[in-house]
Symmetry: C2
């Protein structure tokens, strides 16, 4: 089934302990789409860019089955730009520059041709915009997955809680789960968040893996221990793209299949961090992905006979 | 095969966000022995206590197949005492009091009856003492597992490196692995430490689980997401006791069996943290342990068909 991906298509300038880039292509919907396109076609993009977003990038997306009818191009303005610097542990970063540019005018209109999509991935955006998107979709997609961040908890908690009521799966990191719930224990936080709307909750813990909560069940997906994380930018969006892309491909939203989808998302994210920007995501093959997934299988496999 | 456990038998006074204890029984060898005694008999204890260590605790140990011939009782002195306070995240703590007492005189003599033990667990102690123990054992045990901590890296690095050459499995946490190796990447740290002596390396990450490294292989054991960690004191020693106890029970030191042993250790540790001190470890049954292990199986199980 087709997948709608809503989010930013933008530029990033990134500094890590390993190096530094000038402006390169980034944005949540960019990473989601590249990752998901390995599993599902079409990926129906909803975003906004300025005059400066490269045509070559859009052509590359189209070649991969990513539809851009829902991407508004604003002639007189620049694309969204973010610049940041990662600390040595790669789990924390400082934002150096945030130029909203076209993002100030983002008022997404869902193309008629996108209606009927089975899956919706809402990248991290103003919750008011996330809600606008959901309300435009008739019929409602089979599964709505939403990302957000602490920034919206700080300044638009009510609006965030409003859109939470409308989604099926929420993606947050551990500190965001604590902030959203007011609970320190991750298990208590998860239980509380699942009363706020989402039936499924994924708590991302970076190099420590991810937890999937559903009712009284929990699944733990490890992160692959990597020798070097070169650039973590986009890893969370890539994880989301692999996750929802796999669900859309299999058209199966059972808890059992979501566990598999998290492993797929983790495998995609483990490639993403190997190079700056989405470059590595464009190089890999289906075989690479299968090989990486097999590494995850090996990583957690053990035998035990009880009793 | 029998197991020798070397370490402290002591008193702790603990403060956590959930409560506070007066002096209660603790010590690394206490936790190791209680955990291991579910899997192997005898556990042959090597430790030192003062006049104040409770006879009832020693009787309880003996009932569980823990031999105390190697525990020196010093009539005129008090047992080792540690007091600490945990922060809200339970991953960090402040030491309030360390009274070495009898530990200043610890000069372990291995009883003749202990010779021939197949397994040796060296709890966190001065590396000079750890080495003394190894040198007394003829024949060398089949497997030597060693715990240590950053304290010895700070003040006795050369002696620590000396004893590392003699052991098979090293247990450290992630920050200790970084300190010992001088590498920030956990994978690089592991590779370097495995050139220092230990063939196997277990890196404990607290609530984020544990990694087992061996040659070019790696295994990831999650920690069970718990609603509340009541008191983490002794969790690492309990993990070690379950791990080495299971290896001794099965008498199988293959990488495959070590993976299983880590899950067993994790299950034991998940019980330990439910109450202050080793109390919870004394209450549980074999069925409880099997049930907890099954939760670990469920926690990481997923199905995937590649290709």
């Amino acid at each position: 089934m087709s997948l709608i991906a809503v989010g930013t298509m933008a530029f990033d300038a990134i500094e890590t302990p390993f190096g530094k880039t000038d402006k390169i292509v980034g944005g949540s919907a960019t990473y989601v789409a590249y990752a998901a396109s390995y599993f599902v076609k079409p990926v129906q993009q909803v975003s906004i860019v300025g005059y400066d977003f490269p045509n070559e990038e859009m052509d590359e997306m189209k070649r991969r089955g990513i539809q851009l009818e829902g991407v508004e191009i604003v002639p007189g303005k620049k694309s969204f730009f973010w610049s940041g610097k990662y600390h040595l542990d790669m789990n924390s970063r400082d934002t150096l520059v945030t130029d909203l540019n076209v993002l100030q005018d983002f008022n997404p209109q869902i193309p008629a041709a996108y209606q009927g999509a089975g899956f919706l991935m809402l990248g991290n955006l103003d919750p008011v915009i996330q809600k606008q998107v959901i309300e435009q979709l008739k019929p409602r997609p089979k599964l709505i997955v939403m990302d957000t961040m602490n920034f919206w908890m700080d300044i638009k908690m009510a609006e965030l809680q409003d859109v939470l009521k409308l989604v099926d799966v929420l993606l947050v990191n551990d500190s965001e789960a604590r902030q959203l719930s007011g609970e320190f224990s991750i298990v208590k936080a998860a239980k509380k968040i699942m009363t706020m709307g989402p039936k499924y909750l994924i708590i991302k813990k970076g190099e420590h893996g991810a937890l999937l909560f559903y009712k009284n069940e929990v699944f733990f997906a490890p992160a692959l221990p990597l020798e070097e994380v070169f650039d973590p930018t986009g890893a969370g969006d890539t994880f989301a793209g692999g996750f929802v892309g796999y669900l859309a491909k299999t058209n199966d939203i059972s808890f059992k299949n979501m566990k598999t989808a998290i492993i797929v998302g983790s495998a995609m994210a483990s490639y993403c961090v190997e190079k700056f920007g989405p470059d590595r995501l464009k190089e890999i093959t289906k075989d690479d992905i299968d090989r990486r997934i097999q590494e995850f299988v090996n990583l957690v496999s053990f035998d035990i006979e009880l009793g």
